[in-house]
């Protein structure tokens, strides 16, 4: 489970992204949209791995989700993805992998909503 004090989306990270790209909202928007489009693919990969009880196959999509979530500030999802990645690396999946995946889905919906809200608050470029 993610640490409870982590934000769904850490707006400081989004602010840093803005600052480091010269307040290029167009780019940040593209980055977030890429994340929103790409993440379901990682979930597909993770679901398949858990269904097939294939620990090794869980590592890569969970790893990717961990790092891309961190990039856009989705810290809670990143944290769960990290646990899933470690579960995959341990070599065997138990029931917690399945609950972890369910928790990740819930966090994903929350994060996608928060990111969407962030973009809506910003004026179009």
């Amino acid at each position: 489970m993610p640490e409870p004090d982590l934000p769904v989306v850490d707006e400081r990270i989004l602010a840093e992204l803005m600052a480091s790209t010269g307040d290029d909202i167009g780019f940040v928007r593209e980055l977030i949209q890429t994340y929103l489009a790409d993440t379901p693919l990682q979930f597909d990969g993770m679901s398949e791995a858990v269904e097939a009880d294939d620990a090794a196959a869980l590592v890569r999509p969970a790893h990717t989700l961990k790092s891309s979530s961190e990039t856009v500030g989705a810290m809670r999802l990143s944290s769960i993805a990290r646990e899933l990645e470690m579960a995959g690396r341990s070599g065997s999946l138990d029931a917690t992998a399945r609950t972890g995946l369910d928790a990740a889905r819930a966090e994903w919906l929350a994060a996608a909503g928060a990111l969407d809200a962030f973009l809506k608050r910003r004026p179009a470029e």
Partner: protein, 362 residues
């Protein structure tokens, strides 16, 4: 703005790729991207020499970071490209493995812009240095090939000793002129002028080429310095440019070998109706050696009484004789069988010279 270099980003995460590309472009780089190792290797192969730095993710489908890195390092055309490993903070074990496999450095996610800039600049500098080294090595290799070819050409026209001298560090100094004791041997053919008048030009050239080959072999065996071939006349000296303690002995051994081998050649030509005899004059003395001639056409020559003496003795030698100057004879005492031929009056020399003929080596 022209790109400061070209980077290849290899990462399966489109989010990470997008951000990294953006950051690299902000640093002035042109960026190519690949979503796995297989595509990365294909891009590298399709754009030889184009990529200056590779940013490589470790965990990827198809071909992961380790395999991609290993493949790059195994390929002559990509092994020198700096590779920066992009990894999570928890993956320092894999970073160590990548560095062992030849990665230049690493970056941890999330990427810090200043650290990225520093690592990229270091990698580009290393790549530039490598490129300059390769370029200068190639230029040096081409230059060496040219010099080697010129030396080979030179040694076809000159004595090997002189060809070597010209390309040696002390060459210029020796070419400028120096004085040294040398042994000079002059050889020519008796009856050659008569033969040349009677025979056709092809026959003359054939005989000369057989004769020169024979002479050439004997000269090479004793490491004599061939000054020139002039028709049937051959002038060889010893002890210069390479010092030879036994220079007189070498000259005599060469002359005796020439005389022995000439017998067969002479009998072949006798069958064709030409009577040719071989004679040698050998003298020892100081000469001035170095570059003689004029700008545009120089020879390496020996100038001195010793040259004239050897030449005159050669003219006086009868077929089969090897005539020694008194000094040469003295220096060879105990090493050869010789017989006196008495005092010879030589053209251009005021006093008669007591010469002796080499009967054989002892």
């Amino acid at each position: 703005m022209t790109a400061v270099g070209k980077a290849l980003v290899v990462d399966d995460s489109s989010v990470n790729r997008l951000l990294l590309v953006r950051r690299l472009e902000a640093l002035g780089l042109e960026v190519m991207q690949a979503e796995n190792g297989v595509l990365a290797l294909e891009l590298l192969a399709a754009n030889p020499g184009a990529v200056d730095v590779v940013l490589l993710d470790v965990l990827m489908p198809e071909l992961d970071g380790y395999e991609t890195l290993a493949a790059m390092k195994a390929d002559q055309s990509t092994r020198h490209i700096p590779v920066l490993i992009v990894s999570g903070v928890e993956e320092l074990d894999s970073v160590v493995r990548c560095i062992e496999l030849g990665a230049s450095d690493y970056l941890t996610k999330p990427i810090n812009a200043s650290i990225l800039a520093a690592r990229i600049n270091a990698s580009l500098a290393a790549k530039r240095l490598h490129d300059v080294e390769v370029e200068s090595f190639e230029r040096q290799t081409a230059l060496n090939r040219t010099i080697e070819r010129q030396k080979q050409e030179l040694s076809r026209f000159l004595s090997p000793q002189i060809a070597a001298l010209i390309s040696s560090p002390e060459g210029e100094q020796l070419l400028a002129g120096h004085r040294r004791e040398v042994t000079v041997a002059f050889c020519d053919l008796r009856g050659f002028t008569h033969f040349a008048e009677q025979a056709g030009p092809e026959e003359v050239m054939t005989l000369l080429s057989e004769y020169h080959r024979l002479m050439g072999e004997a000269i090479t065996e004793q490491e004599g310095t061939l000054e020139h071939f002039a028709g049937d006349g051959v002038m060889v000296f010893f002890n210069d440019p390479i010092p030879q303690e036994d220079h007189v002995e070498r000259a005599v051994r060469m002359a005796v070998a020439m005389r022995d081998r000439f017998v067969e050649l002479a009998s072949a030509w006798r069958q064709r109706g030409y009577e040719l005899g071989f004679g040698v004059g050998i003298a020892v003395g100081d000469a001035t050696l170095g570059r003689i001639g004029f700008e545009g056409r120089h020879d390496y020559g020996a100038i001195g009484n010793v040259t004239i003496l050897a030449s005159r003795l050669s003219s006086q030698a009868q077929a089969g004789q090897i005539l020694l100057s008194p000094r040469a004879q003295t220096m060879l005492q105990g090493l050869i069988e010789s017989e006196s031929v008495g005092e010879l009056t030589l053209k251009g020399l005021t006093r008669p010279v007591l010469a002796s003929n080499v009967v054989g080596l002892r």
